[in-house]
Subunit: 206 residues, 6 copies
Amino acid sequence: TIQTLNNQDEIGIVRGLAWTSVGGDTLQIEVNTMPGRGEFRLTGQLGDVMKESAQAGISYIRSVSEQYHISDEYFRKHDIHIHIPEGAVPKDGPSAGVTMATAMISAITKIPVRADVAMTGEITLRGRVLPIGGLKEKLLAAKNAGMKIVFVPAKNEPDVEEISEEIKKGLDIRYAETMEDILPVALMGKISEKKPGKKKKRAEAE
Amino acid sequence: TIQTLNNQDEIGIVRGLAWTSVGGDTLQIEVNTMPGRGEFRLTGQLGDVMKESAQAGISYIRSVSEQYHISDEYFRKHDIHIHIPEGAVPKDGPSAGVTMATAMISAITKIPVRADVAMTGEITLRGRVLPIGGLKEKLLAAKNAGMKIVFVPAKNEPDVEEISEEIKKGLDIRYAETMEDILPVALMGKISEKKPGKKKKRAEAE
Amino acid sequence: TIQTLNNQDEIGIVRGLAWTSVGGDTLQIEVNTMPGRGEFRLTGQLGDVMKESAQAGISYIRSVSEQYHISDEYFRKHDIHIHIPEGAVPKDGPSAGVTMATAMISAITKIPVRADVAMTGEITLRGRVLPIGGLKEKLLAAKNAGMKIVFVPAKNEPDVEEISEEIKKGLDIRYAETMEDILPVALMGKISEKKPGKKKKRAEAE
Amino acid sequence: TIQTLNNQDEIGIVRGLAWTSVGGDTLQIEVNTMPGRGEFRLTGQLGDVMKESAQAGISYIRSVSEQYHISDEYFRKHDIHIHIPEGAVPKDGPSAGVTMATAMISAITKIPVRADVAMTGEITLRGRVLPIGGLKEKLLAAKNAGMKIVFVPAKNEPDVEEISEEIKKGLDIRYAETMEDILPVALMGKISEKKPGKKKKRAEAE
Amino acid sequence: TIQTLNNQDEIGIVRGLAWTSVGGDTLQIEVNTMPGRGEFRLTGQLGDVMKESAQAGISYIRSVSEQYHISDEYFRKHDIHIHIPEGAVPKDGPSAGVTMATAMISAITKIPVRADVAMTGEITLRGRVLPIGGLKEKLLAAKNAGMKIVFVPAKNEPDVEEISEEIKKGLDIRYAETMEDILPVALMGKISEKKPGKKKKRAEAE
Amino acid sequence: TIQTLNNQDEIGIVRGLAWTSVGGDTLQIEVNTMPGRGEFRLTGQLGDVMKESAQAGISYIRSVSEQYHISDEYFRKHDIHIHIPEGAVPKDGPSAGVTMATAMISAITKIPVRADVAMTGEITLRGRVLPIGGLKEKLLAAKNAGMKIVFVPAKNEPDVEEISEEIKKGLDIRYAETMEDILPVALMGKISEKKPGKKKKRAEAE
Ligand SMILES: [Ca+2]
Ligand SMILES: [Ca+2]
Ligand SMILES: [Ca+2]
Ligand SMILES: [Ca+2]
Ligand SMILES: [Ca+2]
Ligand SMILES: [Ca+2]
Ligand SMILES: [Ca+2]
Ligand SMILES: [Ca+2]
Ligand SMILES: [Ca+2]
Ligand SMILES: [Ca+2]
Ligand SMILES: [Ca+2]
Ligand SMILES: [Ca+2]
């Protein structure tokens, strides 16, 4: 069944999109941070690929922490917990990478995430967004859950173009090449400006 | 067989409801806290999903610890042990989440839990209460064990309405959207007041 | 074969009762404590349930340590080792819970345990004694090993009543609801007095 | 499908060559370093052989760290994370050894790697480059991805000679006996000079 | 094949007796101690029961360390390594318990062990020696290896009496109830005197 | 295929001999040491027996460290990494014990190992050399790889005598009872003199 989502912007909660054997679904990824010893907990029956995807996300965040005014010490003095309800349902795959990373940045910076934004995409250590599968079902689930903006990987653009307009109607579909395409929108512009001349590592040749 | 329960309010003991192959049952979840090094022990043949559910509960508690006047240092300087008798019976699933969280808060704050309250529901990192299964059998078990109040997830309201009045008669069934619906009743109002304007993250659209 | 037991009171050694495929048997549970770093070792081919039962016992002891004049630091500065000979025989189940807990308290407080006392029962974090199986075979083994007093869980009273007088003759069978029913007898009254008004958590309704 | 690669030199990113059941492919190996406690993380569904290969690489780098002006303390005060997208695809084998080592040295020294260089080869603790398989498919994948220079193990020279000129045309294939044959080219001469008279451990008898 | 043994007394080397599918064999158990951090290593393809047996032995030694003038700090500041050649042959069972304990005490106290003494028996935390199997084959192996004195568990006395005199001829078979029966002989009287009135926990009723 | 070996003496590299399903082979065992925290890494797809063999070797070295002027602190302040190429080929068995130990001593003392010496033999904690299998194939591999001196366990002398002179011709086969027979030759006499009167634990009765 499609999960009915909160309609209020919250810190550390981001809507992901899942592709299951019975169709698309939304996943409300939750992140808590707390004073601790640098431990990283992942719960909600996540598979190996999904856990590695979360680790890629946290490494990306640590590598750009200066940009978001997060101190080096933060990661040593806090624990980070990612949980994906529904706890009895096994989940796997790399496509929640950008969602988990966005939720972590929101939880760390205490900037709320827009409640009407959903996203899907594999993340790399450099914040690149790689293509994923099951787009049609995911877009349908996002729409049914009342999402307005959906970020999909730029490399999935050809897949999106093949999906019928009926499904896409009412959704503002945006293409992401890197996390820097997602964060300003999801965090509503409240993140600090990008430093000019740095991190301009877009792949122009694609 | 239905477990005969203590009829006295105790610290760190909460009645959960289980759904087994032979019907409903009550689980008397016990939590001990002791001076320690921040270790978290889970015994009683708990499965992976149940263990993750306990971890979600402790993260929820840590995220709202300020609200309950629990110091940050508490979790680094104490060990927490959750045990669910009967030790030889394997137990799993996310539905004891709210019960384990309530027992932990009681054990940490040293506020006793009403002995005539039972509860069932998955917990998330933010203290949301998610729906569970086996409600009919669980309510029957609660009744047979002499429980008076039973908390069930708000999203299970349609399931409760389909259960015959004969089973529900004599039970005060209450719907919980978040842990904040459960704690004041289970801890008999002895927890500190909620801070106004904070943590008002109810899902109005449900 | 029935193990011939020592006939002298010893510190940290308690006679348990086991129920095997070939009948009852006695288990001479040994506990050593030594200066250390708070490690807890369990040997003698113990199964998961038995190991968790030992952990429930140590948590119970830590939660009542003040009552027995054991300092908080004790558990951080000592290692505790529970061993159950015969080392090649796999052992499991929760019914050695009270025996392991009694042996640990004896080893920690250096108070000897009566050599003619045997016991069986699951222990909970609060020291409650839960019912177990195989009573007839266990009582027979206790008798053959020369035991005089046998503690059984109060909830097993109906089972005891169905056992023939021939087996029970010569055994002083006592019913335990909590560890506090066992310890004064097993430790021969040498433990410190219970503090009045505290820990009166008996289940009157049973 | 052949991965389209970035066309810009980057720090900590090196193009490897993989041999899969459906042909050759390029792997864009990413390395992040961050202040930490000497932890080494490997993600992207890497098999045991590949993980050991990464460990051989890091040991090689530590053993020659003086040569590259990396302080002993570096490895104790930083975490190193190697990730290989696409995260859902299992990867194994020793042939990414030289690629992972090059990416690590780039990430540690902050010297960018030429974007048009690809490489394949097993690495040993001493930086020797051992032969690998699937050369024809790998060279084809490198060419399709727009690579200009490809390093292959010197011991694979006979295999290269048997590959048709059509495939090799346009590729500058170079033979590597040790990492010291690869690094000056991949890091564009920006690494410090080799100390004369040291590390002259070439195998002349091959 | 029967292992030819050294004929010289050595520190930390004791001859055990094994019972294999092809008959008895001797095992030359080696123990090294070295400055360290309290680690305990067990190599030579030892099974779980044998590893637990070694742990029981070290706990026994720690519990009587005062008696042998070993300081409490010893075990925190040294590593102990037990190795049983031949490294490719899996070994298991509790019957090397007394042998491993004797080798450890020799290695710790630096007192050599008589080269012509062999032994077999399960050890408990209190140094009791429990009965074992395969006695006939073990005695034969001891004899063939040139052993003069063989310690067997006191409770195996009936088994020894049933073995033909031809096998036993030339062997000085001694019965051990506790480690204190073995150590003075194996360590050639060079261990310090037992403190009178302490540790007199023999089982008289056996 | 027979591995062509380096023809130059190197620190921390020793030629072992392996016996595989397709005949003998040489293994070029590499050891790196580096400033660290006493960690011990083993890579190259080594099986359990081989890993334990390496651990026996390091314990042997630690037990004789004084003899080779290695300080106690060395092992706590360095990491040791043993790697055996080819990384994708599983390797197991105890027969590389003496080879790994020799490579470690060379790496720790920085004394090069003769490039024309190969060796095979199980090692014990005391540096005894135990017999191994597959001698004919191993000697053939050593010869094909250009080795001049081959150390084999003294107890394999009868096996060597049965091998045809054609295979042995050109090889200087030496018998080792202990590591002390191997080290002076392999390390070219550059190790410090043995202290007279100590460590004379040869087995004369063999
Ligand atoms: Ca759902
Ligand atoms: Ca673009
Ligand atoms: Ca029950
Ligand atoms: Ca509502
Ligand atoms: Ca028995
Ligand atoms: Ca009663
Ligand atoms: Ca690809
Ligand atoms: Ca060459
Ligand atoms: Ca043998
Ligand atoms: Ca006797
Ligand atoms: Ca080879
Ligand atoms: Ca000899």
